[in-house]
Amino acid sequence: MTVTAPPQAETDPHYKVGDVAGYTEVSYDAKVKLFEQVKGDLRFGDYLYGCYECGICVGACPSAKFYDFSPRRIAQAAVREDVELIYQQMQEDIWECSQCFSCLRCPRGNNPGGIITIMREVAVRNGLASAKEALVGYSRIIYKIMSTGTQVSPDMLGRDAFPDWGPETADVADNLDLWRRALPPETMHTTSTGWSVADRTLVELYLIWFETGALDMIAQVDPSLHSILQELMEDRLEEEGIEP
């Protein structure tokens, strides 16, 4: 069908337009293209069945208790295919979600958290400002998981990294190597990874990142990190005689 819907911002004074929220407004067609990517995800049909507007998902949602956030609005916008609101949500709301999936209580069978996972993925793939902003300070985690195969490492518990976790965390930092060597499992004598991952296992992981386009996604939100990861992985795969 031909899309002719006018921007709601022109008719609804309470609508939060992109400029107000601090994000660059884009054309309606650009918003349609983003939603097409959301809707084209193979999981979309599994996650959305309609909406009773009962609000059970909101009642169960932890983020709704602390933020101006509602999983019901996510489901409703997706059901109505309201591309204006969906774009706004992709720029403002989706990164507040806790991804706990409490909203799976939905009596209609929706998975608002899963829809948000898809929307976030599209936001990253398209380099939306919200994705870049949400991932500020997160680069080290992405580097760690993609390059070492484990996400959080003992050496992340630095003296200054988690001051709100109390003085015990500083004790861990001060005794890290010694305390790791005191762990009975042989796999856990590591400080830069959660456990010792075999070298061949990492090669297999790198190949997965290349083959699935996961590595390319990083380029949209953090080009520098992408360059570092790409060089690291290409060098390692080359050593194995593998053409990614």
Binding site: P62, R80, I142, P184, S196, T201
Partner: protein
């Protein structure tokens, strides 16, 4: 692919009712039967449960079998990295009960913590990571046991996606072929807390510490009982079958008093990205909606939970809350750590409680554990490492062999040569 925009989902389904029937596919009725059918069709390989198993009931009544021994430990990055006593307690219990296992190097994280936090991945990558790990387990002959609640929930999502979408299976199969591995799924996806639950009476039979005076609150992990919820363990004798039975079943089997509280369904506040880069939310939710409510309504000695993020969040969030005068200050342990302590495990050598932040010492005292003596013993161990007498402590050290104590009955941690796949 052209997708019509502007036709609401329900209206589209009504228009195409014959071609697109509306089926609530949140939870497959029997994922085991589905994967076995796909195996029959030659689509994938199913790693079968082998040897002695215990049957337990899932949410809607389907029986799930839990293999007792010969298990491949799919470790948790958060547990191993920041709360290692969680992992060591699981291993220790298995050794104490005499069941063999494999602790692999050929394992990556499920990478789902990052995926739920940053979305810097995609369906095919997540499925390929999961299947690569399952294939690594399959190659050893050991059956996978998933330590992390998020890995467990995410792998169940991946299993559903692979069952429903042939195009995803084809994509993952092609990647696995490049890795020299088969497309394989286990007959059941099993969380360690399900193994603990299934074996809770064997654990209780080895109990040496009385916990009848201990009041427990339970936080059920979201990614355990909310994602693909039909596959989680429920028991009509525990909460009338209205909440998952794991953790509570263990605490009751050990003789502890489990008390309920009003916000039991709430998440812990982990948030995936929030715990790392938006911690004000995590701290606030964990203390205001969980810890304070538990303390006010149930006065527990300890909160038990069964996932990486939950232990981390509930334990680490209390310091800042106490600094602001909130009613925090409650020991947080995993079910495995609590079970290990009840079985006589050393609080530092095995349960590694010095990695925790919330004060656990009052709990230990109530359990009859002299934590000052135990800490002195652990310090003695550390001096042996510092002096160069030993490079690493091992399971004999954990069992106090060098203190002249009698070594505990042990299972085995087998090192396996996995064939070169590439």
């Amino acid at each position: 692919m052209t997708i019509p925009i502007g036709v609401p989902v329900d209206a589209r389904r009504l228009l195409n009712a014959t071609a697109e029937p509306v089926v609530d596919r949140r939870s497959l009725e029997d994922p085991r039967a589905e994967v076995l059918e796909l195996e029959r069709q030659g689509e994938l390989i199913v790693q079968k449960i082998d040897g002695e198993a215990i049957s337990v009931a899932t949410r809607y009544g389907r029986e799930k079998r839990i293999q007792k021994a010969h298990l491949w430990h799919h470790k948790s990055c958060g547990q191993c990295g920041h709360i290692p006593g969680y992992s060591t307690s699981i291993f220790w219990i298995m050794r104490k009960l005499g069941y063999d296992y494999h602790d692999p190097h050929d394992q990556t994280s499920c990478t789902a913590w990052n995926y739920y936090a940053s979305a810097t991945s995609n369906t095919a990558a997540q499925a390929a990571v999961a299947v690569r790990n399952f294939a690594a387990a399959y190659e050893t002959g050991y059956f996978p046991l998933i330590h992390c609640g998020t890995s467990y929930g995410h792998y169940k999502e991946v299993r559903e996606q692979l069952i429903r979408h042939p195009e995803l299976r084809a994509q993952v199969r092609a990647i696995m072929t490049k890795l020299g591995k088969p497309l394989v799924l286990p007959e059941e996806i099993v969380h360690y807390s399900e193994w603990v639950h299934a074996l809770r009476h064997e654990i209780a039979a080895k109990q040496v510490r009385d916990v009848s005076g201990i009041v427990v609150t339970v936080h059920p992990a979201c990614h355990y009982h909310k994602i693909v919820s039909g596959d989680a363990i429920y028991d009509p004798d525990i909460y009338g079958g209205q909440r998952t039975a794991v953790v509570t079943g263990l605490a009751e089997a050990l003789g502890a008093e489990v008390r309920s509280y009003s916000t039991w369904f709430d998440c812990c506040g982990f948030g995936f990205r929030h715990i790392l880069v938006q911690r004000d939310f995590t701290r606030s939710f964990a203390t205001l909606r969980k810890i304070e409510v538990m303390k006010e309504e149930a006065s527990p000695d300890v909160v038990l939970t069964h996932d990486t993020g939950c232990v981390t969040t509930l334990d680490k969030s209390q310091f800042a809350a106490r600094a602001h005068g909130h009613n925090a200050g409650l020991a947080v342990l995993s079910d495995a750590q609590f079970a290990a302590l009840a079985m006589g495990a050393h609080p530092y050598r095995v349960c590694q409680l010095h990695w925790h932040s919330a004060d656990y010492r009052p709990l230990l005292e109530k359990m009859g554990i002299d934590w000052e003596k135990a800490w002195a013993e652990f310090q003695s161990d550390l001096r042996r490492l510092e002096s160069g007498e030993k490079r690493y402590l091992d399971w004999d050290d954990a069992d106090g062999v060098h203190d002249g104590e009698r070594p505990a009955a042990r299972g085995t941690d087998t090192t396996i040569e996995v064939r070169d796949a590439l």
